[in-house]
Amino acid sequence: MSLEVIQPGVLSLLQDRGRFGQHRIGLTTGGPLDPEAFFWCNRLLENDPACTTVEVSFGGGHFRCLADTFICVTGAGMPLTINGEEKPLWAVHRVTQGDEIRLDFAEQGCRSYLGVADGFTIEPSFGSTSTVVREKLGGLHGDKLQPGDVLPCARASGRKHYYLPPERQPRYQAMTTVRVIPGYQQAHFSRIQQRRFFSHAYTVSDRCDRMGYRLEGPAIRCDIDGILSEGICFGAIQIPADGQPIVLLNDRQTIGGYPKIGSALSLDAARLSQLRPGDTVHFAPISPHGAHNALHLAHSATRRPPLLEQPN
């Protein structure tokens, strides 16, 4: 019982929620760049929220079903076809053995999640199946998916055809505002530098990946060049000597010595990771209280509403 990878596309990675509690041996967290889309993929499939999915970046994936199961694709607008027939994203579809699933290149956003009923059955390493290529950990062999890989999953029957109506689906645009909790070395950035950071548009550079998104725009100066290496949390915004901010994401290094002006709110980092080179980012400050409230509201907003069933 499995799904066979015919073509993985640009970058496809097995991801569960991430690898936590292992920073002390230098392991990063990995996990889905867009946890909101990842969450909906599993929720619509009635899966445990930690089930392993495939994160498809940019698109171009082609898979063959070797089992009767149900699938769901959420996230970036990658046209989905099953045996050549167009199917909606954010909806559960029945598939049977021999069916061909294709994900074309994304029209909006760039990360999507392909899930199956009960998730892919992958042996965890250090408590997680998340693939971190740099660490050669997780997934099938610590690497991105390759043609011919076989992703084990259970045979499943009896899933409801749940879907998320369009008005509740996130919209991925070419511009986003990232709320930032000021922190770390914030005091070493003068008021003028902070105002510059929060009042200008930044452009996503070509150097954006699962480690971090490097941005280009007005250079931000810090009073200090470097610091004693210290722990880097998710979303931390490093300002290296060239003054160009780097938002550190799931595959970031666990410690580093560049000054940081604060950290992105995870809800907004998820939208940031749907941007492509050339897209636009604005930063806005948010208080720790505001961030805490935003996380709780987002949590209940995604978990509480009842699911809708597609009339079949």
């Binding site: 002390r24 950990l137 210290e230 666990t254 720790p288």
Partner: protein, 226 residues
């Protein structure tokens, strides 16, 4: 007590401005106290040279509660007693064939290669931090006489087990990776082995000594010369 916001679910505690055994001892003591105080609300801790990053579950607790519990726990730990970590001995083959930068480093320091080896293996180090890559342990402090700046052009490929110096830090590369540190020897001990228990022979706070070994001994211990 110097606690700063780090992110939506992280606070960072600063315990000093520079690398020293005293600060490292305070980092160790703080980690133990914070772990006990936060228990199930804690997601992860990242100890480093002079700081501890505390990552908590924001759906179970909040920054005010975490900050409060950290302050209470740290206030009651009293003056930092140096938690005696283990002392781990790592064998090193310092032969020229695996020590590409040893001669240049010796020349800079106006010492013989043997002097560099003696100074490197004659010092007890402390594990100050682990990061950069899985199992990469930053050890300090290297004797001032053999401290050396990073290479101007980092190597594309440093072999697993390479023993290296950068500034007053030394390390054993846990896996093949790019790197700009000065290579002075090779260690046959695996610094990171996902299949082993424990995964790493050292933890933050442990002491490390290097022991010079012969080529034959290096090979007998499973060392790889390539």
């Amino acid at each position: 007590m110097d606690i700063h916001f780090a992110g939506e679910n992280a606070l960072i505690l600063y315990l000093g401005q520079e690398t020293s055994p005293e600060t490292a001892a305070r980092v160790q003591a703080a980690c133990l106290a914070i772990e006990a105080a936060l228990a199930g609300d804690l997601i992860d801790l990242v100890p480093s040279y002079a700081s501890v990053l505390v990552i908590y579950d924001p759906l179970r607790t909040d920054h005010m509660s975490v900050g409060h519990r950290m302050r209470e726990a740290l206030a009651s730990t009293g003056p930092a007693v140096d938690v005696q970590g283990r002392t781990v001995v790592l064998p090193v083959y310092y032969g020229a064939e695996v020590a590409a930068d040893l001669d240049a480093l010796a020349e800079r320091a106006s010492l013989s290669a043997q002097d560099v080896v003696d100074l490197h293996s004659g010092t007890e180090y402390r594990v100050y931090a682990i990061g950069f890559a899985p199992g990469f342990a930053y050890l300090g402090q290297v004797d001032e006489r053999i401290a050396a700046p990073r290479l101007a052009t980092p190597r594309q490929k440093v072999p697993r087990g390479a023993v290296a110096i950068a500034d007053r830090q030394t390390a054993v590369y846990p896996a093949v990776s790019p790197g700009g540190w000065n290579l002075i020897g090779r260690c046959p001990t695996r610094m990171f082995d996902p299949a082993a228990t424990p995964t790493m022979p050292v933890a933050v706070g442990d002491r490390v000594r290097f022991e010079a070994i012969s080529r034959d001994r290096f090979l007998a211990l499973g060392g790889d010369l390539t």
